[in-house]
Symmetry: C2
Subunit: 482 residues, 2 copies
């Protein structure tokens, strides 16, 4: 008898789930990369330029030295008592490693921790949140996780019972949300960001979509806000955030705030404010609003994607609901300890006066100012293309240009059974080696076409990205001109 597992017997929720960031375009890119390796010179380009995923260190960004020093010492504490480490590690990294080890019961970095993460590290993170916001944070509200993704899944698992449970999600959105809602069998209730106003988030749109969902029998449980935006790169204005908080409060919605790009703001006129700070500054406390803030070590200037560290700060839930969140966290025992340590470092980096402060600051500022320059260069390049308009990347790591495709291109895409922007992106990849993700993977206003391009290639690669993209776009436009 043949095995019973086939596509038809698999969980249909899995089949429905899509995750464009690692979708078909990446598979093609990997194939092309193998071809380049096997037969150099066989393609019209000599390297693949990955602009598809927010993975800075894969493109040459260096890790922050202080963070790695502390991690290495915590990984092998036996060397802390040897004098040779003085020449290898900065004094404050040694001191920090000792502090952290003292916070871990038995200094056992190889032990499962409390399901929410090591208490001493949560204390540090809570203090970091307080310093950031100017409002108290409670270490018992922190759940350390293997990056932000598992934290998002955890909340989806709790909030979604069936397709009658809806979550308001921005469109365009980071596909983790659509994928996770699909996997848990809920309904994504879309609200459209307004591209014309720099991806503005209109409360009237939230209300309209909420009413529309209600009329379909869907109970909307939560509002997802990504700030700074992914894939759209906007940073919300403070008044806008207040209105969002008020909306959630009025409608009794959980506010799921994806704040993983909180360190990535590139324009002087905008600042990051956490939704917790905003709601507390409005006088709303624990009793008033259920709020979850997601943070990650993968983004910011640190970009430590491979470490899988992050946390969620969970406030406003009743003790009986909290107990259920704790239970779900405990089924996976705990998140990885290196990631936990790194999350504490990110929320408590070297301060003025610390031995590593200057080198740390230089590394941090170097990365952030370079990212700002790259964002600007790419934005200008996109806006100079025929039929392309691109909002500013105020924050995050992405640009999401709108491409007005000629009818002939749309027909050709239909004939190739591809979304028009996927058709464009695959042609771009095959012609130039530049990998960007089609807007259709993030959803978009029907009839509009986009792609997401990261600002992460190192600065010496940006001219190549620009010239290859420009050249391709001209030839594509000419080929399909109506």
């Amino acid at each position: 008898m043949a095995p019973t597992v086939s596509r038809d017997t698999l969980n249909p929720k899995v089949l429905q789930c899509e995750y464009a960031v690692r979708g078909e375009i990446v598979t093609i890119a990997q194939r092309l990369q193998d071809e380049l390796k096997a037969k150099p010179g066989s393609l019209p380009f000599d390297e693949i330029l990955y602009c598809n995923i927010g993975n800075p260190q894969s493109l040459g960004q260096r890790p922050i030295t202080f963070f790695r020093e502390v991690l290495a010492l915590c990984d092998h504490p036996a060397i802390l008592d040897k004098k040779e480490i003085q020449g290898l590690f900065s004094a404050d990294a040694i001191q920090r490693a000792r502090q952290i080890l003292d916070q871990i019961p038995g200094k056992a970095t190889g032990a499962y921790s409390h399901s929410q993460g090591i208490k001493g590290l949560r204390d540090t993170i809570a203090a970091g949140i307080e310093a950031r916001d100017g409002f108290p944070a409670n270490p018992n509200d922190i759940f350390l996780t293997d990056g932000a993704s598992p934290a998002v899944h955890m909340m989806m698992q709790l909030l979604i019972s069936s397709e009658k449970d809806g979550l308001l999600c921005p469109i365009p959105q980071y596909p983790l949300y659509s994928a996770s809602i699909a996997l848990h069998g809920g309904s994504l209730v879309p609200y459209y960001l307004d591209e014309a106003t720099g991806w503005g988030l209109e409360i009237s749109e939230l209300k309209k979509q909420l009413e529309d969902a209600k009329s379909k029998g869907i109970t909307v449980r939560a509002l997802v806000v990504i700030n700074p935006g992914n894939p759209t790169g906007q940073v919300l204005a403070e008044e806008n955030q207040r209105a969002i908080v008020e909306f959630c409060k009025q409608e009794g919605l959980v506010l799921l705030a994806d704040e993983v790009y909180q360190q990535n703001v590139y324009v002087p006129e905008k600042k990051f404010h956490s939704f917790k700070k905003i709601s507390r500054s409005m006088g709303y406390g624990e009793e008033d609003i259920c709020l979850v803030s997601f943070q990650s070590v993968s983004k910011g200037y640190y970009g430590e994607c491979g470490k899988r560290g992050g946390y969620m700060e969970v406030t406003g839930f009743s003790p009986e609901v909290r107990e259920q969140i704790y239970k779900v966290a405990s089924v996976n025992l705990c998140s990885n300890i290196s990631g936990q340590i790194l999350a504490s470092l990110v929320m408590n980096p070297p301060k003025v006066g610390d031995g590593s402060y200057e080198s740390y600051s230089a590394e941090k500022d170097g990365i952030l100012s370079s990212l700002a320059r790259r964002a600007k260069t790419l934005e200008q390049a996109f806006n100079s293309l025929e039929g392309v308009t691109c909002n500013k990347a105020e924050g995050a790591m992405y640009l999401f240009p709108c491409i007005r495709l000629p009818q002939k291109a749309i027909k050709a895409a239909e004939a190739a059974k591809k979304a028009p922007d996927a058709f464009y992106c695959q042609r771009l990849l095959n012609a130039t080696g530049v990998v960007v993700v089609p807007g259709s993977g993030f959803r978009q206003v029907p009839g509009t076409w986009h792609f997401r391009c990261t600002i992460l290639p190192q600065e010496d690669k940006i001219p190549a990205v620009v010239s290859r993209l420009t050249e391709f776009h001209k030839s594509f436009t000419n080929e399909f001109r109506d």
Copy 2:
């Protein structure tokens, strides 16, 4: 308006899920520990003795030096070129770290990897499996994960569409399985291990339960086998494994083989054989059986629970099903890189002739032989108690003694609204500070009562565990004698 999230609106699958290993007993233990700290001398014992969870390093087990050396160097590769490292790290650890970094694109340990994990590390793991089994292993079949738990969840997510999908699970079982099946909304189809024959796994029992499930309209998709057993500690005999493979083949079931204790075998008459080796030695290949083997860095002699490393080896599935497994893996991007590196080290430790081999072997053998002694001492202690019988721990990290509780104790438990074994375990904890998990958390033959006790307290603590437990048991038995 008050927030809409209450226990009643949460996903009922979450509410149904139970996870005893971190359940009520642990909460009580933490409270007692706080009491001891705040008011030393206020309790009838001076420390909590944790025997509830397989977390060796939390109880003082030291990490394997070679593994930690390599991890530290990979965390901070910048020091690899400095001469001071010669005095701090063994030469083969330095060499191994260089090798591993060369396998990581751009040597970027801070980058997301391929969704299945770094290819070079998967090559190493596949070679380790081949060396273990004597049959080929394919690196493309390896999915690196943050410990075994997320891998198990991933397979449950794929295989379970509704409560009509069943999984055959041993009873007693590690509660990850019941929890994960509950979270994904499937049906746990129990098969009872035979305590009288050393927790024997009878094929007739599998058949009976399979038929019974079918008659209830449940389609059984997979068979879970935990070998060596958790919480039961038995090691399956080779003939038994063959019969299990044959059963899965005949019935078209996926064989989910939890093999995380593969290094933990304590008796000379038993050896660990992977189910892949068994099925290949029977002449069954890819076409014949769908097999998933779970491995973890948390167990074995390494006990690196906090690193959250592990993998599953997935064989026998069709390309279209494999594609769906890959998609689910990719939604969480990748597992943590330190855990990935550690998984490769565990499957390829120092060999004869390597500089670290002797010290590595001494550490490994020291841990395993000590675990064997502890298992023996505890088993003998349990068997000497009135009304208690305990099978040998042939492997894994646990003993699961059967306690025949007097009717009076059962009545007292009922009055306290507790399962009788939970009542016993809580009384034990309150009287002695010894934490064990009630058998009801693992399920058991109705009317029988057990608890799970790890063999992990360090050897100098074992006499205290034995004497406290013995004294408590005597007084409990006398108190409730019928």
